[in-house]
């Protein structure tokens, strides 16, 4: 039986910014194994992104506990969470979130700066990651010089660079045409085959089929499909 990488135990999260509290997650529990490709589906507002943020240590649950590699994260200080995030967790966003004034290489090596990695090693690692997603000839290109699919592959390279093995992908194909979307999912599948754990948030059932397991969220509750 594979090791359990992520454990979510009865997690709840409510937003209090509006007129009335909005419960985004209600008692969600799940486990994600090392090397798994999990898809989280559900309509808008079902809590997918909230759950992904908690998995990525970008947010904290109001109730319940989230364990990363067996380590309870709720009480971890912010600095420790940032270090854990920087070393182990990669994000892929729908809007790519690349810095427009940085080349593909510079975008990929950005996170490595916060790991206090030397410049030469940063460049080597970033170039290797870009090569892995098939962009070895686009290292010096700015985002505007790349297609949408290529930009998303740069974002994937940024997510895996430096040995990160957990990829949290929030609607990574939402801004792509079908061909580019399948190409990006192909890259993610390839990385999963090499051992990376992938959590894919999508409301597109076709894309969810790339995953080995699909979980659905509705109104903050988790449903098994």
């Amino acid at each position: 039986m594979p090791d359990s990488l992520l454990q979510v135990e009865d997690v709840g999260r409510t937003y209090h910014g509006g007129v009335r509290p909005v419960p985004a997650l209600r008692g969600v529990s799940l486990e994600v194994d090392d090397g798994e490709f999990l898809a989280l589906t559900g309509p808008s507002g079902s809590g997918k992104t909230t759950l992904l943020n908690i998995l990525g240590l970008l947010d904290r649950p109001d109730t319940g506990e989230y364990l990363f590699r067996g380590c309870a994260t709720s009480a971890l200080p912010e600095r420790r969470r940032a270090v854990l995030r920087g070393s182990s967790i990669g994000f892929v966003f729908q809007a790519f979130n690349l810095l427009a004034d940085r080349t593909a290489l510079e975008n990929v090596e950005l996170g490595l700066r916060y790991r206090r990695m030397s410049a030469s090693r940063r460049r080597d690692e970033a170039a290797a990651a870009l090569t892995k997603v098939g962009l070895e000839d686009r290292l010096r290109h700015l985002p505007r010089e790349l297609s949408g699919g290529e930009q998303q592959r740069v974002a994937i390279a940024r997510a895996i660079v430096g040995g990160r093995t957990l990829l949290l992908c929030d609607e990574p194909t939402g801004n792509l045409d079908s061909a580019s979307a399948h190409q990006v999912l192909g890259v993610l599948t390839g990385l999963n085959d090499e051992g990376a754990t992938v959590v894919l948030v999508t409301h597109n059932d076709e894309m969810a089929r790339y995953a080995t397991r699909v979980l659905a969220l509705r109104d903050g509750y988790l449903e098994t499909t």
Binding site: N53, R79, A82, A100, D101, S118, R121, R158
Partner: protein, 391 residues
Amino acid sequence: MSDYRRPSAWLVAAAEAMLSILGNPGRAFVVSLGAVLGAGLFTATLGLTGTARSEVRADFDAFRATEVVASSESSDPAWVSPEDLARIRRLGGVVSAGLVRTTDERVELSTVLDRRSGVRLRVSGVTPGALDVIEPRVVEGRTYDQIHENLAVPVALVPEAAYRELTGVRPGSQIFLDGEAFVVIGVYDGVARGLGVLGTVLVPMSASERWLADVPAEVLVEVAPGAAETIAAQLPVGLRPDAPGLVSASALLDPDAFRLRIEENVVRMSVAASIAALTVGALIIGIATGSSIATRVAEFGLRRALGATPGDLGLQVLAETALLGTFGGAVGASIGLIVTVGVALASGWTPALDVTAAAASVGFSALGGLIGGVVPARRAMGIEPAEALRR
């Protein structure tokens, strides 16, 4: 690992700050505008002040000490002779010179109509040459001259206070100094030099022997502007070549102190104005950076997602504002120097470039940028990554 050198957090922040600045020159320009203005005003204000100070100094030089007084430790009250005076009058820079003796004790001044006035004044024996130095401001009548001196004519220049207090004191009237009759030749209300005689009754030296025979004489010398120190140095030998050590001479009423005080005030005001300018610059940096933080929330959210700690973001913002402050300060200081030169030349002045002030303005701008970045840095540190990434 050998190639795993760990740059400090500050180095990472500085590198990221530099990349952010170079990647967004427009934003950097707006933010650094504060530093440009602050440093520019700082340098220009101090530069123009320096220039103006030079002009003030030049103006004041025209009114530099024009009076030198020499006295002697000699026991002989008549330690200086007419020949000695004639010798120093030949010195270059000497305009006029003469002797003054002033009583230590006050003598009673009375008139025919007011025989026991109770008015007691000191008496100064003043040679016509010394009178030229003193330049008493005569409000009525006239001054006496060499003929009065040579003939020991008992005439007196009376201070205006006595003129007001005593009945019958006017030019041509007779007064009595300790019972000795003098004719009032004039009334004066001030002196240009020789403040020691102000308020005394001025009489010819030759006519004051009764009171002044035992009083040591002082030599009053009027000199050309700027010559006071030189003449003061030459006077001992000039007056007493046989015993210069007995003579001490000093330039009096040097307006340098007054000038320096004015300069200090001008500088103090300009420094205050300059600091205000730099403060404004720091505020502009802070406000502009604060505004830019609002537009960079998603970027900071991404950085947090990539492993940046709140401290990393705070350091980056501080590094950015400090760098922009430095850049802006350098540009502003350069502009300030150019403005100083331009204004000085246009005004026909010699520009006094204060490079130290320019360098200081760069340093202050960097510091101002750092201080201005504190609030934006705190805002950046407080950004919630999950919230930021939704934008």
